[in-house]
Amino acid sequence: MTEAVIEVAIIFIKVVVLGFILFSLPLPLTWIERKIAGHIQVRLGPFRVGPHGILQPFADMVKMLFKEDVIPEQADRFLFRVAPIISMVPVFMVFVAIPFGESWTIPFINKEVTLYVADMNVGLLYILAISGVAVYGIILGGWASNSKYALLGGLRSSAQMISYEVALTFACIGVVMLASSLNLIDIVKTQTGGLTNWNVFYLPVGPLWFIIFFIAGLAEINRIPFDLPEDEGTLAAGFHVEYSGIRFAYFMLAEYIAMVSMSVLAVVLFFGGWDDPTGLGFLPPIVWFLLKVGFFIYLFMWIRFTLPRYRYDQLMSIGWKILIPLSLLNILVTGWMII
């Protein structure tokens, strides 16, 4: 009985810690993003609040909390209120299945705990399915605002999501074929033992898997060059144009967490997870994991301030005419190689 209670308590603690980390993660990330933007565009970025503007996110948070929560008169009040929450919940749910390492022994009491909440047989499929649900927040938010810009943002988002989800899933199939498992821990285990075992270096198809995955992932989390749903140039701010205050903050939070989850997925599927590329073991595996994830988060930000945005028809033709046929071909070649 006590065993079971301890197990449940451990799961509970893990979920609370993970939730707390994820909720506070956008604070440093917004600051980093604005700093990177500043330095790429040869300016300083936030500089006033605290040394080097490091307290800027807290100032923003206070501003968001105290802003008036405006609901347009013609809006569908129920869906307008629910939409930000719908977009936020799935991105948190994704992290239930993500492994951050194998296990860790708590010092002093010598109790070994696993560094994941749930070890799922269908982990990868679960993550892809749940992250696809987040689009409902954008679609319903866009529709419920009852404004032309927001509706167009929602429409674009639904079409974009459908098109790129196919490519994203196909890019993952190669990895699944190689590991012959949908379990993320198994997928990482097949990649241990140095750089050459990482899926991205599974020549010649590995790099192509990763490129397709990365492009489709960019589109999936609505980042530049594929941020058509919130295209400032033509749609004002797209689906969240009518949102203010804390509800707007929810959308932003969801977007940042989605970026983190996409980075984590890239690391787990293609870059060996917590595998140490040097093989020397001077850093613990979890540090390697976080370093790799941090690199991908930086890459997403770097791309945002380097590339221009695609046009909507270009977006569709890239998805359907290039990425999907290419990923199908890739699956075929992978199949041959494995046989």
Binding site: D76, L79, M120, N121, V122, L125, Y126, L128, A129, I130, G132, V133, V135, Y136, I139, L140, W143, L151, G154, L155, S158, A159, M161, I162, E165, L182
Partner: protein, 166 residues
Amino acid sequence: MFEQLLFILFSVAAIGSALAVVTMRNPVYCAVSLVVCLFQVAGLFMLLRSPFLAVVQVFIYVGAVMVLFLFAIMLLDMKQIRFERLFSARSWVPYAVLAGIAIEFLAVIYGGGIDALMRVSSTEAVEVKTFGKVLFTEYLLPFEVVSILLLVAMVGAIVMVKRSKG
């Protein structure tokens, strides 16, 4: 005990949201109710120890099919269009169809057809591997027939759109 409770929870929510799908006036709310219903069914699959089916249910129906439904509803702005009544309330046709489906279900359940389905499920979680193996050996023919059927439907839809355009 706990499982029973979950089953009741999921089933009640599934039936409630399914009723909402057919009774709601606003098509967007109908679609949202259907999404809720599909999630409940995924929960039921989970209780039947089939996480793969549950996840695929969410992936295909919630993640793709319903997004397209909403896309169509929003694109056509169906708020303005009132649903045409297919049958008037006094007509016997819908009742006859419902009765027919009910009889069919009862025949499957009591005619032993359900046993064949139960054979696959067990107390242990069904692995993806076993699932795939059964699908590609024992049930290969039905699987291929369904694939062809879907292909035909897709081609048919494209042909219809092309014809109406000119």
